[in-house]
């Protein structure tokens, strides 16, 4: 566990801040709090946290306004957002937020997102071409499936499965950042190229192909390739 990392909780409600502090401290993080956007910038400068849990509905400014500043300062950002604010979530992710948690949240889910985001930051900080990073990330497993990113191979129960090129590209993109949500537009741009950001149906068909070939035996609601309606996909390795 990434103990000792400093996390800043930005929310205008003291009870929610207290709950998050309790949850995060229980998991070994150091926690600082901010009740608004201005305070958040001040706390960031004073304490240099590694990650911000940022509520977007702040009393003094829109959380989206200070998001670029936080990211520019090298913080990982996990957004706390209302249930139906799909556009807001997508906007935050496109601005560089690592992930989001929907209120009312499950503390376990918050911890999982924080862990994933910090791990992702650590990988990025390691730099491309880093041998250690390649070794750690090159083999991704979920269920009885193994994605070998170095060999560009996918195996199920030890047997190689042939995926269509775009299916593999999509799976590889998600497997490189396991547990992290990637928006539809980001996936389409990376896998299909610029100009395809609106072709969501390509994504649907590729995702369907991946599930059919790798998860035909999983029950409903059990797929590791999770779609967040209207937002994007994440590869959930912890899915049983």
């Amino acid at each position: 566990m990434n103990t000792g990392a400093a996390v800043m909780v930005v929310d205008d409600d003291p009870a929610i801040r207290a709950l998050l502090r309790h949850t995060l401290e229980g998991a070994g993080y150091r926690v600082s709090e901010a009740g608004g956007a201005a305070e958040a910038l001040a706390v960031r400068a004073a304490e240099a946290p590694a990650l911000a849990l940022l509520d977007l509905g702040l009393p003094d400014r829109d959380g989206l306004d200070i998001l670029p500043q936080l990211i520019g300062a090298g913080l990982a950002v996990v957004v706390l957002s209302a249930r139906d604010a799909t556009a807001e979530k997508v906007a935050a992710l496109d601005l560089g937020a690592d992930d989001y948690v929907t209120k009312p949240f499950d503390p376990e889910e918050v911890l999982a997102r924080v862990r994933t985001a910090l791990r992702h930051r650590a990988r990025l900080a390691g730099g491309l071409g880093d041998a250690e990073r390649a070794a750690v990330a090159s083999l991704v497993r979920f269920g009885d499936v193994e994605v070998d990113l170095a060999a560009r191979q996918v195996r199920k129960a030890g047997h190689e499965v042939h995926l269509a090129p775009k299916e593999y590209a999509l799976l590889a993109e998600l497997a490189q950042q396991p547990g992290r949500v990637i928006t539809h537009a980001q996936l389409l741009r990376t896998v299909w190229g610029p100009g395809h950001e609106g072709d969501v149906e390509y994504l649907r068909v590729a995702a369907r192909g991946i599930r059919r070939k790798l998860e035909g035996d999983r029950g409903p609601g059990r797929s590791a390739l999770r779609n967040e309606p209207g937002i994007g996909y994440r590869l959930d390795l912890a899915r049983d």
Partner: protein, 524 residues
Amino acid sequence: MTPAPPPRPTLPSAEQAGGADALRGGLVSGLIATLALLGLATLAGLALAERGDVAPIALLYLGPVMFAAIRLGLRPGLGAGLLSSLVYTYFFIPPRLTLLVADPAQLITLVVLLGVALGGSHMAKRLHEQARLAEARAGRDALLAGFAGSLMAVTRAEALWAFLATEIARVFDVRVLVLAPDEGGALALVAAEPAQERADLLEMAAAQWCFDGGRATGPGGQVPTASEWLFVPVPGRGGPLAVVGVGHPEAAMPLHGPQLPLLESLLAQTGLALSRMVLEEQAHALDRVQERERLRSALLSSIGHDLRTPLTTVLGTLRALQPLSADQATALSSARAEAERLDRFVANLIDMVRIETGAIERAAEAVDLAEACDAALDHFAPSLLRGRVTLAVADDLPLVMADPRLLHHCLINLIDNADRHGGPDGTIAIEGLALADGGVELAVCDQGPGVPADERERIFGLFARIEGTDRTGGTGLGLAIVKGFADAMGVAVEAGERQGGGARFVLRFPAGLVRAVPLRGVSA
């Protein structure tokens, strides 16, 4: 509110028509008065002549001549002048008691008398004319002012048409038709005085002509027609707003003299009043929209923030707590379940407010129904799913265009509904089918008691529950939200019967929302 009738003003037409009789009565009495004055002047002259005082006698005759010229006009004035000359010549100019004039200088007196008659009558005529015009203008102004005042009190177009018909009929003593364009733009009779159901074809054609040309059309107007009716447009900014027809059963010309300009003035005012009404109506509509908008955002933010923020804390805390004993574990799990129910209810309430206030934002996106069902099932606790839910969606089921968020909440509510009504051990079957008509349907089936045939419409209503079947868990909002969201997406939703017993709720995507699977984008 009915407008008060305007004061009855004097009209030019009434002044002219009734004025002739008054004038005739005045002529006779005026002539008698003139003759009497003439007699008096002669008697006074004779008295003066007795005393040998002849010089001022001619002046005495100025009285009757001026009187006749001013009161009775040019011809009676000249007549009085001539008569005065003759009488004066006869009685007072030597040789007396003859009509002979011995001294030519005396002729000057005669010419002066006639000249006074001419000048006096001319002056009087102009005065008469001015007085008559002033009176007519005053009558017209009073009429227009009264009309404008009454118009202000009319607030609806229908009331305006009726008011226009009766007023014009009363003021001009004519029959009136009022025609205005309906929603489709075709002219239709909207008021008539005396009342009639419809206008003849000839009149309709003339009215249309007037409406299209924007000019007075018919006898007395700028454009001649075959109809006996005169049609005059009600002017508006972008062309005529309506057409008013006037007709008279006896006269060939429904209006005469200055009546047409007067009618046109009245109709110009009517046009202004109509524009005002339209503006007021728009302002009112805007007010209502803004008020509703304000209420909606107040409600949404109040429920969304003030209710959900504490719920987030409560729910989060309950989820984070670690029970120390079996009793605590039971209590904690039931508290958690209740808090989750409350949260679901609040979420549904917000959704319902959105539906009821028309504040649903839609974004269509290609959706894989199997994937959408997965995401919806993800929302539920794993214990619900284990072994109880089956998902049967063909691999080649086409994609559908839907708002992913609205569809997500539809599915959550349908699954929740199946869970609560299907019995603790009943299975939930979700099926996706391509239909013969090119549409796609997604069905959520349970093994509960089902929905009676006569309840299948009502069950989608707000707070609808089937009597005696649902005492636990339901909010009465779930299916209403499914219906509201499905409607917003153009998706049909209905309740049916599952084969072998139970309810079957169907979302039916019409062919227009179905997208074929694009294979080239994936294998390339």
